[in-house]
């Protein structure tokens, strides 16, 4: 395997950490702006809307509830955006990841697993029934999407013969993984919506429970959680581009431009499709995930393994 230098080694730790922070803010803004455009059909004003509402939330006074658990509540709130940015650390930006381990895919998965604890804490903290119901709904949904997500990540790892995102990118030089792993691609994108509890998987913040986990959030707390969700969705779109759509590969244009174009396309597709689907009940999601998606993603991993043994992938 050719060793690709990490961004931290190539450009220094502080500049590349700032780059990842900037990319996170950009992706979060992109998701929020596209969401506004899809929702309202507005053009230019929608681009500024995320900035405007962020400033409004920053200046808004925080309200609290009777007998909350402030420590756990604040921890959960702060963890959502922090985990979103940390998951971006192994997503290649301009062909380099901020830092690289031999297990980038597992790192990405672990950040998303830590989100289970964070979202449940956001629901638990305010000592309010709707928020807690939302937290429990998120865990139920987590049980549904986690295994199919892991199996689709395993399919990618098997195909590339490595868990390192840089190796996965170079393994797709000939053919993008989406061609041989369409099921894993779709499951990965659906899981992205599920762990950002967004779109059809928005039951944890459902209108029937007055906003669920976000119902008692105000001011900067709400900003952090909403930004974390948007960054997670954007980071997963960027990761989907790296894992399935060949990253920066493409004709004529330089790599980073292709990567940006593909990421924008995936974000637009995710947001557009997500806004057009009804919210699914978590109990339904769990049954479909366990009885349909787990076997289907297992078969996908098996197909990839057989293709690998038959020399389909240039590893």
């Amino acid at each position: 395997m050719p060793e690709t230098e990490t961004a931290a080694a190539a450009w220094g730790v502080v500049p590349s950490a700032l780059l990842v922070m900037g990319a996170a803010l950009g992706l979060g803004w992109l998701v929020a702006a596209v969401d506004r455009v899809v929702l309202t059909g507005a053009g230019a004003p929608a681009v500024l809307e995320p900035v405007r509402s962020s400033v409004r939330l920053l200046t808004e006074q925080r309200r609290t509830t009777l007998a909350p658990d402030p420590l756990l509540w604040r921890l959960g709130i702060a963890a959502v955006p922090v985990l979103a940015v940390l998951s971006l650390a192994v997503v290649p930006i301009g062909g380099r990841t901020l830092w690289s381990t031999s297990v980038d895919l597992v790192w990405f998965n672990a950040m998303e697993a830590l989100l289970w604890a964070a979202v449940w804490l956001v629901g638990w903290g305010p000592n309010a029934v709707h928020a807690l119901t939302g937290g429990y709904r998120f865990l139920a949904q987590g049980l549904a999407y986690e295994l199919p997500l892991m199996f689709s990540l395993i399919a990618v790892g098997v195909g590339a013969g490595s868990l390192r995102t840089a190796d996965i990118l170079s393994a797709q030089a000939g053919l993008w993984f989406v061609v041989s792993m369409p099921v894993a691609f779709v499951v990965f994108l659906a899981s992205a919506a599920a762990f950002a509890f967004w779109g059809p998987f928005g039951a944890p913040t459902g209108a029937d429970i007055a906003g669920g986990v976000t119902s008692e959030l105000s001011g900067v707390d709400r900003l952090l959680v909403e930004a974390g969700r948007a960054i997670f969705l954007g980071a997963t779109a960027a990761m989907a581009v790296a894992l399935f759509l060949g990253g920066g590969s493409g004709p004529w244009l330089p790599g980073p431009v292709w990567q940006l174009l593909k990421t924008v396309a995936v974000v637009v597709a995710l947001v557009w499709a997500g806004r057009r689907l009804p919210v699914l009940r978590p109990d339904r999601v769990v049954e479909v995930a366990w009885t349909v998606l787990v076997p289907v993603t297992l078969v996908q991993a098996l197909v990839v393994a057989v293709l690998l043994l038959s020399g389909f992938y240039a590893v």
């Binding site: 420590l71 672990a110 449940w120 638990w124 999601v285 049954e287 009885t291 349909v292």
Partner: protein, 193 residues
Amino acid sequence: MLTDLSGWTVAAVVVLGVLSVAGGIAVFVVDSMARATFALLASFLAVAGVLLAFDLVYLAVVTALMMTIEMAIMAVFMIMFMMNPAGLMPMTMVHNARGSAVTGAVTFVVLVVGIWTVDWPIGRTERPEDSTRQLGEAIMGSHMLVMLVIGIGLFATILAGTVLATARGRYDRFGADLAAKRPDDPIPGGLPR
């Protein structure tokens, strides 16, 4: 010098080790089930940090991943089965205080004596290039049988536990003569059955 690790690594291991012990103690000090659960998670995450400092990235990340999911699910069940499901009322994780203190002290003494008296072998082998690959080869190769037996054992335990815990059996779902076409479930699920 006891190790060939860098000063930063040793410092990180010491700090994280203290944090993990502090998290473990906090489990028995805090008075809410949610705080106890997440103090335990903090302890596990500190252990994951120690593994990360030793450059065992796969073990570190997998520890964080598994323990977080486990603690999140444990929080649900622990709070569900508590006498006070809201969980914010004072509670304690300490039961049989004297017995557990004696057990803890004896275990501590045995472990410390063992650690300082056993003539531990000194690793002379070269560190592998990729510890993740080495671990994978061990699990899928020489230790495959052990892993399979453990896996099946765990799976059987989970199934048996669920079967013993559930109040509803097949007669509740399919009727006394098991003749019903569709099971009568309290939660319908997502598939047409």
